[in-house]
């Protein structure tokens, strides 16, 4: 990687970070979304051979595109079978990995720097989770600590929230899931102490499957959190706990923790991205509607043509993420979404519609191992 190449990447990072700074300062965005998006696409095509090949296969001349929508999106599957990075191997500061598949392949997302990712995660996480609070909350995580999940992008983000959003005086060690076991007794002690001393609200961060285990462990009991507390949940359940409908889980969380619906916030993110999306309920948004930061957008596209669907129709999510500076600014997922007023709805994976006889389906073949 040449010095010119690095300085070009660093300049793109700086431009991406300017979006985050402007958001934090409630200032106008420094430039048009598409302006940076197009420059990222060109940079990635120039320095990532796979993306150049994808552009060629789609007959896209990246030098002449005039909108971000013209740039092909990299399917999430590509992260499992190829290196999606513009810098040389060995220059990655961190490598985040997806969960495994039957083939044993784990997708990976390499980052040469976490500064851009961290800035975006913190700015938007703060806005979505704690903007209404006057003081820092006590952050507790029902999830594995970084020592147990060193290559998890989610754990990286949660650790950032612990450090930067939480009140450090509320206790050491905010991680309450170790080696797959939830330490209910310690969590109970932590929350009881907070309640006794009239401590700040709790920001409880958890994966959905961990929450299901947590609720199963409690049975009919409740686990009231201090007033103003909120719960952030993320991720699915498949193969890791019993499956529960979103509404059923939400009702249980509200009952057990004593939080109201507006304080239950779902997060949508993935290893292949650098940005996240949240329910906007704390900001008066409708339940089930997710909001985007100004540096990322979710475009529902037709699964076959990959062209944007009409407003209000369901498509699969093409996610344009300006913080994915040195990987893929546009990522094609298989998640179904629909644009609605104020953001988008996340509708899960497409059901396997076609009876395929005895020919094995991709989902069956690549089901999480």
């Amino acid at each position: 990687m040449s010095c010119i190449h690095i300085s070009e990447a660093d300049a793109l990072h700086a431009r991406a970070q300017s979006f985050v700074k402007a958001y934090e300062q409630r200032a106008p965005m420094p430039e048009a979304f598409d302006s940076l998006a197009i420059d990222l696409a060109r940079y990635q095509a120039a320095h990532c051979a796979g993306y150049a090949r994808l552009c060629a296969a789609k007959n896209v001349h990246i030098a002449t595109i005039s909108t971000a929508a013209e740039a092909p999106a990299v399917p999430t599957d590509a992260f499992k079978v190829a290196r999606v990075a513009t810098f040389a191997e060995g220059q990655a500061r961190v490598t985040f990995r997806t969960s495994g598949t039957t083939l044993g392949d784990r997708g990976s997302h390499e980052l040469r720097t976490t500064a851009t990712v961290d800035a975006g995660a913190l700015a938007f996480g703060r806005a979505a989770l704690t903007a209404d609070l006057e003081a820092r909350p006590a952050v507790v995580v029902v999830g594995p600590p970084p020592s147990e999940a060193p290559d998890s992008s989610l754990t990286h983000m949660l650790a950032l929230f612990v450090r930067e959003l939480g009140d450090p005086s509320c206790g050491d060690d905010p991680w309450f899931l170790r080696e797959g076991i939830i330490d209910l007794a310690r969590l109970d002690e932590r929350v009881s102490r907070l309640l006794q001393r009239g401590g700040p609200p709790v920001l409880l961060l958890a994966t959905s499957f961990a929450l299901v285990h947590f609720l199963d462990g409690l049975g009919e009991a409740t686990f009231a959190l201090p007033p103003g507390s909120r719960v952030m949940q993320t991720g699915g359940f498949k193969g890791r706990s019993r499956e529960v409908s979103a509404s059923e889980l939400a009702a249980e969380i509200e009952r057990v923790f004593g939080v109201d619906a507006a304080h239950l916030i779902s997060e949508y993110g993935m290893t292949e991205l650098s940005s996240q999306f949240y329910d906007a309920t704390l900001r008066g948004g409708a339940p089930g509607v997710m909001m985007e930061p100004p540096w990322a957008r979710v475009v529902p596209v037709d699964p076959e043509t990959l062209e944007p669907v009409r407003e209000g129709e369901i498509g699969i999510a093409r996610i344009e993420d300006l913080l994915n500076v040195e990987s893929a600014f546009a990522v094609q997922t298989a998640d179904r979404v629909r644009r609605v007023s104020g953001g988008f709805e996340l509708l899960g994976r497409a059901p396997g519609g076609t009876p395929r006889g005895c020919s094995i389906g991709i989902d069956e073949l690549l089901g999480g191992a």
């Binding site: 296969a57 083939l103 009876p355 094995i360």
Partner: protein, 329 residues
Amino acid sequence: MNDVIDAARHLARAPGTLISELTHATGLSHEGVVLGLAEHLETDATADEIAALVTHASEAPHVHVVLSANVFVAALRAIALAVAAAPEVTIRASSREPHFARALVARMTMPGVRVTPEARPEGVKRGEIHVYGRNETIAAVTATAAAGVTVRGHGAGMGVAIVSAGADVVASASAVARDVIAFDQRGCLSPRLVFVPPAAGPEFAAALSGALEALGRIVPRGALQADEAAEAERYASTVAFAGHLLRGAGHLVGFATSVVVPPPGRHLHVVAADDLAVRSSVAKLARSIVAVGASHPEAVARWAPPHARLSRLGTMQQPRLDGPVDRRT
């Protein structure tokens, strides 16, 4: 047993309206249906093969067969196995493609074999249920089966093709193409992956794409359903990023050093890999592999999954009628 095979021979000789019914129901092209009846209906079983099939069959007072769609000729083997197992056989054909099973049974003379579209697996009170299709279908039938009823599932799977060093690249590519066009690759015997020696990779991928294009002119691909087309497009983008993509009028051939399993619909992924890497990939996929086709079957026999049907390239879709196609269970 001969009654089933005789009925199949009769159907192959005089299909009547069956070809148009199957063309409409399966989504295969007219030529694809004709090919299936002419070359993939197992009507020439030997006495030894039939004896082997009977040996594989269980013993029960009643067998209820739940068939899947797409590979219509599979009904012959499923019914043969049921008939070998029980004097009373009821068949629930796929609602999308009930024609082949109906036509076959109509030509049989054996009493006690009936197509029963309304019969639900949970209504079976004794004997066995033989389920063919997706794993989730098998799981659903198993979950609702009455106590004392045995469920035998024949789940989804796929084939892999292995081209050894020194094999004729063009001939091997043509043979693989023949294995793919039958039933538009929707059967569990169809190869989805082809492992080739690294040096032969680009040449093989090009030859395979050429062979599929040529065969596609004779036996056109039928229509892909929307979700199949979407999966194909996703595969195309993935392989374009990870390797090289060759797109034909009715097929995709991907070529890379990594394994990407394409969806059915005449889509093949060519993996350039040395012998060790091939063995490793096949081992990882073993539980999904129903069939292995090889340019040199004797070279892979020692390490191919023991349950897989091993055959020469070009004959993967013509398994002998000697037991279930899927030997994993």
